[in-house]
């Protein structure tokens, strides 16, 4: 059974993808936009989930998926009209299906009633249209399909009915491979589908059936011949066999144009398998996610004009799906590769450092070789990093659902536009983007956008627009969330902040400062706590998460026109551009993003402040000095700031700080190593790295240092107005 668990894992992974495919397809579905390709894609996704589920014996899942599939089948054969009610039901059904898969994956029992509401809702549509409803216990019938299907027979057995209403008689010979059942397919579904198309006569050929003692219970020994009188086209008849293209041979022959005997056969034989390969099936170009292979099909939105209109909800062209040449690789393997390359970068730096002292000219070739090695190492690292890179579209694609739900909840008309979904960024960054983006979009819809009536009164279209975009800019990824709402209501924000004691009354703040107040912990303008917002946790968490990733967030707002949140993040969390500094015998790495400048202060620029700490005049501002050797207790360091160096650092919103160090050794790209893997987290230290000489250097966490220096009693100091975010700075504002 262990072999099976491996396949199960693949099944769950694929199901997760299929659910996403189904959801995005359903979200685009509306009465005005009934794209057959989309509907088929959803149908196939649900069908594949059902098929796989059957193979592993998830009976409840299969039963529910079957209902779902039946409705989808009705939708694609246009027997069930597309209404918003239907779309809502289908989206809920998709969620329920996801929950069922989740239960199957964790091997937990499904709580009774999980499927009831959704299943009833689905049945309602089936009942309304009179589409054939199958009992949910068909799952159990699957096991015995071989015998069950033999009895499926349509009207007029044995005769080839003649008709003169444009219907034709077809002969369908279906010879499945013996292992068809193992792939989760059930011939009875196909036969029933044929039966639904018209008047079918189904003959089961049992001649291959071995004697009982030679029979493999999991094999399928049956063949079927179906004579079908229908008005459907050949392609439509082939359709039910779509999933068994590689599992058997299907011959479809037209026996009569209108009414004729078998002798008048105009043979039009083709195996579905061959058709599938040549790609002439109607849906073949939309990338059938056939459950058999390991081929991952992912959507690449056509980058035409960077704006994928598909996400506008209605009327847009769906992203063309491209079956890429991809393989599914265990993430651990890639991580190991990334680690190994990291080691190589270090070793290479180590060799380079040792060879630097060689007498010039003597080992020219060695040095040239080393140069090349350095080049190759860099390229190797970049390509390995690009393996981990994923398009941000995988996060963006979750947002339409969120917007849809929020719009319904707030009663606002919202359209989400996205662009730059193909911008790639490291997987770890992607994973950490979901929460901040969710918060920001929530914020935009709840606070930014007005109600439709208010918008109309303001002379704007009733429908508000939230735009989500991503792009690469100078080695970082920049993500923007903007809305065309009312913008930040500055007087109200200020009033609330004063009310909540976050800002002293009467403080005069610039517009920018007021905008930044929304990032304060505990700040909220909502008067009542709703499901969506008002708890005062949100934007501060967003900022903390973003700066935890080494990123920055800024907000721009224009009253009446909307606001724009701009996130800037590093492309990877595995390497970091840093400045190597020394204090005493120790060396540290400061992330380059935190460094403003470094300078050697003149003695006259240094001042003591109420005997508590030192401040320095730098470019017309007083900056508090923090002695790293004092903070970290390092002996033998330069004690006098005017003899050492001051590195001006700033962290997200926490203002500037002058870090007193001995020396700045140079800029270097370092590989981030976890300190927590074998030890634990330390204050003021973000992570560690290994320098060229093989020694470990700690990577400093500027925000942590700032906090430490405040707790160590040397807090206070003159700070800029922009560090309002830290409550400790507030009393000083009163003084100013």
């Amino acid at each position: 059974m262990d072999d099976l668990s491996q396949f199960k894992q693949t099944y769950f992974e694929e199901s997760a993808e299929l659910l996403e495919v189904a959801e995005s397809g359903l979200l685009r579905l509306s009465p005005d936009n009934q794209d057959m390709d989309e509907i088929n894609a959803v149908f196939r996704a649900v069908h594949s989930i059902k098929g796989g589920g059957g193979a592993f014996g998830f009976t409840d899942l299969v039963a529910f998926a079957h209902e779902f599939e039946t409705v989808m089948d009705g939708v694609r054969s246009s027997t069930i009209p597309v209404t918003t009610d239907l779309v809502d039901t289908l989206i809920i059904a998709n969620d329920v299906l996801g929950r069922l898969i989740g239960h199957a994956q964790e091997n937990t029992p499904i709580p009774p009633g999980t499927t009831d509401a959704a299943a009833q809702a689905l049945c309602r549509f089936l009942g309304k249209t009179g589409a054939p409803t199958k009992s949910t216990d068909s799952a159990s019938a699957e096991a015995t399909s071989a015998t069950a299907t033999a009895t499926v027979a349509g009207a007029g057995a044995g005769a080839i009915p003649a008709a003169d209403d444009g219907r034709k008689t077809w002969c369908i010979r279906f010879t499945p491979k013996q292992d068809l059942l193992l792939s989760g397919n059930d011939p009875s579904f196909m036969l029933r589908a044929l039966e639904r198309m018209g008047e079918a006569t189904i003959d089961c050929d049992v001649s291959d059936l071995p004697s009982l003692d030679h029979m493999e219970p999991e094999n399928l020994y049956l063949k079927w011949t179906v004579q079908l009188l229908t008005d459907q086209t050949k392609a439509q008849i082939e359709d039910p066999f779509e999933f068994v293209a590689e599992e058997g041979v299907v011959e479809i022959t037209c026996l009569s144009e209108t009414a004729a005997g078998p002798t008048a056969a105009k043979t039009e034989t083709a195996s579905v398998g061959a058709v599938a390969v040549s790609g002439s099936r109607p849906e073949a170009d939309s990338g059938a996610a056939s459950g058999s292979g390991q081929l991952t099909v992912y959507s690449k939105s056509g980058e035409a004009g960077a704006k994928t209109a598909a996400n506008k909800g209605a009327g847009g062209a769906p992203p063309t799906q491209v079956a890429g040449h991809t393989i599914r690789v265990d993430l651990d393997k890639i991580d190991r590769l990334v680690n190994m390359v990291g080691e190589m970068v270090i070793t290479q730096a180590m060799v380079a450092e040792h060879l630097r002292d060689l007498p010039p000219g003597e080992f020219q070739e060695l040095l040239e070789g080393l140069e090349q090695l350095a080049q190759h190492t860099r390229e190797l690292r970049e390509s390995v990093m690009s393996i981990r890179a994923q398009p941000v579209g995988s996060v963006f694609s979750r947002m339409p659902r969120l917007v849809r739900d929020l719009a319904a909840e707030t009663g606002k008309d919202v359209v989400l536009e996205t662009s730059g979904e193909n911008t790639e960024v490291d997987k770890t960054v992607i994973e950490n983007l979901v929460d901040p983006l969710t918060h920001m979009i929530r914020n935009s819809i709840d606070h930014g956008l007005e109600t439709p009536d208010a918008r109309e009164a303001a002379g704007k279209p009733r429908t508000g627009i939230v735009h989500l975009s991503a792009q690469h800019r100078s080695g970082r990824i920049v993500i923007e969330v903007s809305d065309d709402g009312r913008g930040i209501n500055r007087p109200r924000v200020l009033e609330k902040a004063v009310e909540q004691g976050l800002v002293p009354a009467g403080a005069s703040l610039s517009d920018e400062d007021i905008d930044n107040l929304i990032f304060l912990p505990g700040f909220s303008t909502a008067d009542k706590v709703s499901n969506i917002s008002g708890r005062g946790v949100g934007m501060d968490v967003v900022r903390r998460n973003i700066s935890g990733l080494g990123g920055r967030i800024a907000v721009y707002s224009a009253p009446g026109q909307g606001s724009r949140f701009v996130l800037s993040l590093p492309l990877t969390l595995a390497v970091l551009d840093g400045m190597v500094i020394s204090v005493g015998a120790e060396r540290f790495v400061l992330p380059l993003t935190n460094i403003v400048e470094s300078l050697r202060p003149k003695h006259a620029d240094l001042h003591g402040l109420v005997n508590k700490c030192d401040v320095m005049m730098a470019r017309g501002e007083y900056v508090r000095l923090v002695y790293l050797h004092k903070l970290f207790g390092i002996p033998g360091a330069v004690e006098d700031a005017s003899k050492g160096l001051v590195v001006l650092v700033e962290s997200e919103g926490d203002g500037r700080l002058g870090l007193v160090v001995d020396e700045v050794l140079g800029q270097q790209q370092v590989v981030i190593k976890s300190l927590e893997a074998n030890f634990r987290r330390l204050d003021g230290v973000g992570a560690a790295t290994i320098l060229g000489d093989g020694r470990v250097a700690l990577i400093l966490d500027v925000a942590g240092l700032q906090e430490m220096s405040q707790h160590s009693g040397s807090g206070g100091g003159v700070r800029q107005i922009s560090d309002l975010a830290s409550p400790a700075a507030v009393p000083l504002l009163r003084a100013s």
Binding site: L631, K673, N678, F679, D683, V685, A688, V696
Partner: protein, 179 residues
């Protein structure tokens, strides 16, 4: 790097003794001799200069690079109150692996590999159980009139490295106290 690290050769073969006996690597710190189970010893390596960690007890020497992973080094002498070890080229680090986590212990010298039967291990005398030292000890063994103090590697510096079970324990104690 391989020059100053010495792998414990064929430890699986050597450990394949009867189930009642286990092999211990013993090492000296000052005049005392300590032993740890050989299966938890990943390697023994010469001293390489450490990078200090800020604001920690003196027995946390710092961190070193062990082929790309960063491991903490603890000073056993300092832990047992004997002051910081003045490191020389002769000092060695016993690299211990407990579960997924690896740590190094700075000792004076490796002395022996002993095969010790379970029944030969004497329980340590009752020490004040609040002392961390007491938790480290798993038993005493006599070998040629030398006393070897056997250490429990799962406990050894586990708290300092923030091991989860210790944190969990502490959390439990916290809630118990609160209740």
């Amino acid at each position: 790097m391989s020059s100053n690290s010495l792998s414990v050769v064929g430890r699986t073969e050597m450990a394949a003794s009867t189930s009642h006996e286990e092999q211990y690597v013993t090492f000296t710190v000052g005049a005392e001799e300590y032993g740890v189970k050989i299966l938890s010893v990943r390697e023994i390596r010469g001293w390489t200069p450490e990078s200090r960690l800020p604001n920690l007890a003196d027995y946390v020497r710092g961190v070193v690079n062990l082929r790309g992973i960063i491991i903490p080094i603890f000073d056993l002498r300092a832990r047992f109150g004997g002051g910081c070890t003045e490191v020389t080229k002769l000092h060695v680090v016993v690299v211990i692996q407990v579960g997924e986590r690896t740590r190094g212990i700075l000792v004076d010298a490796i002395s022996d590999i002993l095969t010790i039967g379970h029944d030969q291990i004497k329980p340590p005398p009752t020490l004040d159980s609040s002392m961390v030292e007491a938790q480290y000890l798993s038993g005493l063994y006599t070998c040629d009139q030398r006393m070897v103090t056997l250490l429990d590697v799962t406990k050894l510096f586990a708290e300092e490295t923030g091991e989860e079970e210790h944190l969990a324990q502490r959390a439990n104690m916290g809630t118990a106290r609160a209740a």
